[in-house]
Amino acid sequence: MINKKDRMSLIDIKDGRSGIIISVLGGRILTKRLADLGLTTGTEIKVIGRTLFSGPVQIEVCGSRLVIGRGLASKITVELK
């Protein structure tokens, strides 16, 4: 069984840790937008860092880096590796 504790929103993951995307909540257009950039369920991502006062999150996905706004990041659930 998968421990529920290891699943968390992208914004709660510490810098430098990686995991697998479990789900992407949000509208069809937004989810599609993310998928076009390689952010789909089952993809491995790594959190690189974020800015002060809970700003956007910088992540590494498919060997390249992306910045996504905090609101969006909160809709992505990740299972830690």
């Binding site: 937004l30 993809t43 996504i68």
Partner: protein
Amino acid sequence: MTDEKKINIVLAGQGNAGKSSVFNYFTGLHQHIGNWAGKTIEKLEGTLFYKGYTIDVLDLPGIYSLTTYSVEEKISREYIISQKPDFVINIIDSTNLERNLIFTLQLLELECPIILVLNMIDLAKKKGITIDSYKFQDIISAPVIRTVASRGFGLTDIVDKAIERKGIKNDYTAPKYGKEIEKCISELSIRLKDIDLPYPERWTAIKLLEKDSEIIKIVREKKPEVLERAKQLSVTLEEIHGHDSSIVIADERSHLASQITREIVNLLPHRKISMNDRLDVVTTHKITGYLVMILILGGMFLTVFSFGNWFSGRMEMIFKDWHGWWSTNVGVSFLAALGWAAIESVLALVQIAFPYILPFYIILYILEDWGYIARISFLMDKVMHKMGIHGKGSISFIISFGCNVPGCLSCRIMETKRERFITAVLVTLVPCSAVSVIIFGLVGKYVGLLWTLGLYVFAMVLILFLGRISAKLIPGEPVELIMPMPDYKTPHIRTILRQTWQALKEFIFIAAPVVIISGVIIQAINLAGWMQAISLFLSPLTVQWLGLPAITGILLIFGILRKELILVMLAAYLGTANFSDALTSQQMITLAVVSMFYIPCVATISILWKDYGWKKAIAICIIEIGFAILLAGLVKRLLDFVF
């Protein structure tokens, strides 16, 4: 037929893949920049004459997908489908192969003849990435070419390949998606066979499963029963996968892209941490990132202003005798005066705006080519969100400190109309180099540096405050930032100079005509002797409410042309550049505040007009005039306690 010697190609690819380098290399001087019909998006076309062939090149906007999400994406898709170019040249950033491939797969679905270009192959090698282009070629059944566009390496191979394959029928075996999805696609394709569509059937079928509203509309008109079946199939897919069918397909593409990447890429184990990696850590860090940003931007403005002051002084020396020459040779008639007004407008543009804008653009494009601009968007996203826009808007603000005209133009990078408009309005309130000339020339010189700094801080706080209000007033949801973070790379001089030149050209073409026409009109009013009456008419505002000399009424009218004229004409009126003779410290600060906010200059208004319509442009002007006068009056009353 001469037709045989003609080829037309379009360049397509994600942002930052090096498309514009390829375009410029191919077309050089034979370029034509226009707009897409009815859109504010640039249409870049050019011609290349090569080995007896005339090759028309079109640069499609840099995009991330071919779903109709943004205007750019819609344009690109429509163009490829309707114009049927001989070849679509897909420029791929080799250092970000996997993400770029998702777009490539969408292009392949369109079943257009395609040539793949693995650009920045040198940078990929530096990162330890080797790509097997032969294997790649086999998988996607299209030619693959390796290039380094910034150095021109491999670019002629692209055209050679196009010439070689011209007229050869393509029989694509585009990569296939998962079994059950392909089953749905082929079933729908068969049902679509008997209707006349401008699109390939397989592509149309995929778009129906993706619930693309535009394609659904077209199919509904021709054969509505297909939609029924598409809906059923979508539901089946959704039951199996647990998401919306459009996401299922996007997932599928993304998985296929990573599968292909695994097959063709050989990644060397990460070697030692490079200089760029270390730089990246420092420049995006929670604390040092902001410090570095302040240092870089501070250094940028310091350089721009010290260079600008020096250069502007030199120009002034050159132009100073021209008016005398004009009067002696052309005479002093009414028409001659109007003619001089036109010339003087151009000279002032060259003398006052150019020295600041030129270094500004050069530094800006160095920062962009280096990869730093994206870091600013990242660092500033949180602040920008307070104003209902996202981090990319910060770029427009930075540009606006140089000049509001390119600042307003740059708002086009924002994704939605709402964000574009909010950014454009706020950007017009940013003190541009002309306003800075006033602030420094009055407050900086005679009142003190602390007050000067205070005015800038005041402007920022005010913009933040107004941004918060407009975010609440203008309906719509804020869009979240989604932005690829480029690696740092050595800036490429030729690219920077080319971009600077293009930006300058755009500035001159837009600003010059407006500045000349309004210069002549105002001069005519002046010659007709109405200025005195106008300043008298405005005196309740200028003298009573703002506590300024009556002459400022006229200055503020001239200031609409170019803000720095307020200072230039004040000096002319006083007969001295020692403003402390005529104005008290309090008046200087009040005048600076009015000048900062009272109206965008005519060149900026013309951009607002062009991009957002005359109603909004006029509304912005009226609101800003009212607001600035109200604000400056209040500031004056507050200053009564200080001075």
